[in-house]
């Protein structure tokens, strides 16, 4: 399988705290990977480094064979990296439909002139987008509320929307930061459905999540991170018996159910 993303020798310090220490990761096309680890292991920092919101002190990030280490976030998003945040970030002042339309990626019509010059193509494309957006709204059970402002949605609905935005973006790599945290059980099912759509679309996915049964069901394998490094890579069964993993959870509140 083709390597989609590789990061090697990633170091990142915040002041004196060493958050990432020579981290190494490789993601192949179509893989779904669970990312686990105690709080402060550097999971979200890793997402920030991959999506460009933080530049590493040392190390290289390659995406689709290209060095993107110093690319700004918008360039990475354009090349096909989508991420969600622990605290949902969507355009709250805009409608649900506008949020989805924003996520679709066709850069040919960004400038008003180019849209005007090929107005027919543009309108046809927008029509397709609206249809696809409607399909996604149905997945979220929000098809009758596309005109609502995103900030009026419940927390769970906003989280679903942030997943749907990833699907709309057709990103090749999805970075999902605790997509199920804080969701009610019915919402969890909907979120899982959305993530399954990503899997069917052959997107590569990295999911930060503590819910192990979910990871077991969804992921090809899991990575276990502690103290800024990947300690373990493999399936969950073996992870439970891994001595280093057990040690890093000693005294921690998370249990490996």
């Amino acid at each position: 399988m083709q390597v989609l993303l590789s990061a090697s020798g990633i170091f990142k310090n915040f002041g004196r705290a060493e958050v990432l220490r020579g981290l190494q990761i490789e993601v192949k096309r179509g893989e779904t990977i669970g990312l686990m680890g105690p709080n402060g292991a550097g999971k979200t920092t890793l997402f920030n480094v991959i999506s460009g919101f933080i530049l590493p002190d040392r190390g290289k990030v390659h995406f689709l064979g290209r060095d993107i280490t110093s690319d700004p976030p918008y360039k990475r998003a354009r090349s096909g990296i989508y991420r969600t945040f622990q605290r949902v970030r969507i355009a709250e002042q805009m409608t649900i439909m506008d949020n989805l339309l924003l996520a679709f990626q066709d850069r040919a019509y960004e400038r008003p002139m180019s849209a005007l010059c090929r107005i027919r193509d543009w309108l046809a494309l927008e029509h397709t987008w609206r249809r696809r957006a409607f399909e996604l709204l149905k997945e979220m059970n929000l098809e009758s509320e596309k005109g609502r402002l995103a900030r009026d949605l419940s927390y769970g609905q906003q989280k679903l929307l942030s997943l749907a935005l990833g699907i709309a973006s057709d990103a090749k790599l999805m970075l999902l930061d605790e997509p199920l945290a804080g969701l009610s059980s019915s919402m969890v099912d909907r979120a899982i459905n959305l993530i399954k759509i990503m899997v069917r679309k052959r997107s590569s996915i990295i999911i930060i999540e503590h819910n192990t049964s979910f990871l077991e069901q969804m992921c090809d394998y899991v990575l276990f991170m502690a103290q800024g490094q990947i300690l373990y890579q493999g399936n969950l069964q073996e992870l439970r018996e891994h001595p280093g993993v057990l040690r890093s959870y000693l005294g921690g509140q998370m249990e490996l159910a």
């Binding site: 976030p73 991420r83 355009a91 002042q93 805009m94 960004e110 543009w122 402002l149």
Partner: protein
């Protein structure tokens, strides 16, 4: 007398609206008080004047060229000053101060080049149409029409175009827009271009009506800013309402107080509106428009 005051109010409202549209367009995407907007208004008028009377280009052509240059000037200010300050981590207060500095420099340079006395386009006073005790010139009609067209243009841009959608996203949060893969710097540049072109247009129209002075931009900017705040920055409908209110109140107030009080009345109005609702006319529903 009353009908003339109403007409004057409407004309004033049109120029305020143009200034306010440009100002709030720039404000929503870049989030700081672009004081130098006032300099662009003035320069629009003087550039058109020079291109017309010194280079001999017909007035309409001169106006088009000048408006285009005003747009470029806005983008240039953004690149040469604001972007550099932002990269160095400057906050919105520093940007406002820098912008104020740009304004003062431009005002002084304008005075040095063109002098402090009032200049006007030739031919001087255009013919006017009078009815119901009120007179309106062709420039007045043109001003009204251009303001209306500009408003509709922006309304369509925001509601219907991909570019408008991207602008709204940048207006909401630059960081979020980056995460969506939007080239925020291009969007900000575009808003500087369109906003500054509007400012130049307003300057030319005002100068065609009453002539130009190096300080004309400051007063126009103040009125435009009042409109932008009363209307609720970002709400097109609010801006339209506020421009009419400010224009009419300013010109109808002469029936109550002397003309030297006109601006005080406008700012009193601003305070009253803000005390009642700090967001201006923009209701929650309207705030989403930009």
């Amino acid at each position: 007398m009353l009908s003339q005051a109403v007409v004057n109010g409407l004309i004033a409202a049109s120029t305020y609206l143009l200034v306010a549209l440009g100002f709030s367009l720039i404000y929503t995407t870049s989030r700081f008080f672009h004081f130098a907007h006032g300099a662009v208004i003035t320069l629009g008028a003087y550039l058109a004047y020079s291109i017309n009377s010194q280079a001999g280009v017909p007035l309409l052509g001169a106006a088009v060229i000048s408006v285009f240059f005003c747009g470029l000037l806005g983008v240039l200010m953004n690149h040469v000053v604001y972007n550099r300050l932002l990269r160095k981590g400057a906050g919105s207060l520093v940007l406002m101060l820098a912008s104020f500095g740009i304004y003062l420099i431009f005002e002084n340079v304008t005075t040095i080049i063109w002098g402090a006395s009032t200049l006007g386009f030739s031919p001087g006073l255009p013919s006017s149409i009078c009815k119901w005790h009120a007179c309106i010139t062709r420039i007045h009609i043109l001003t009204l029409a251009i303001a209306a067209v500009s408003w509709v243009f922006l309304a369509i841009l925001f509601a219907r175009s991909r570019h408008g959608l991207l602008m709204r996203a940048v207006a909401e949060s630059r960081e979020l827009a980056t995460a969506y893969g939007i080239k925020t710097h291009e969007i900000v540049d575009a808003s500087f271009f369109i906003g500054s072109a509007f400012a130049g247009l307003a300057g030319i129209l005002m100068a065609a009506d009453v002539g130009m002075t190096p300080t004309m931009g400051l007063h126009a900017l103040m009125m435009g800013v009042v409109v932008a705040i009363v209307g609720g920055i970002g709400s097109l409908r609010g801006l339209l309402l506020a421009s009419l209110l400010v224009g009419l109140v300013r010109h109808l107030s002469i029936f109550v107080v002397g003309s030297q009080w006109q601006d005080s009345i406008v700012f009193a109005l601003l305070l009253v509106v803000l005390l009642k609702s700090p967001w201006g006319f923009a209701s929650d529903a309207a705030a989403q428009e930009v």
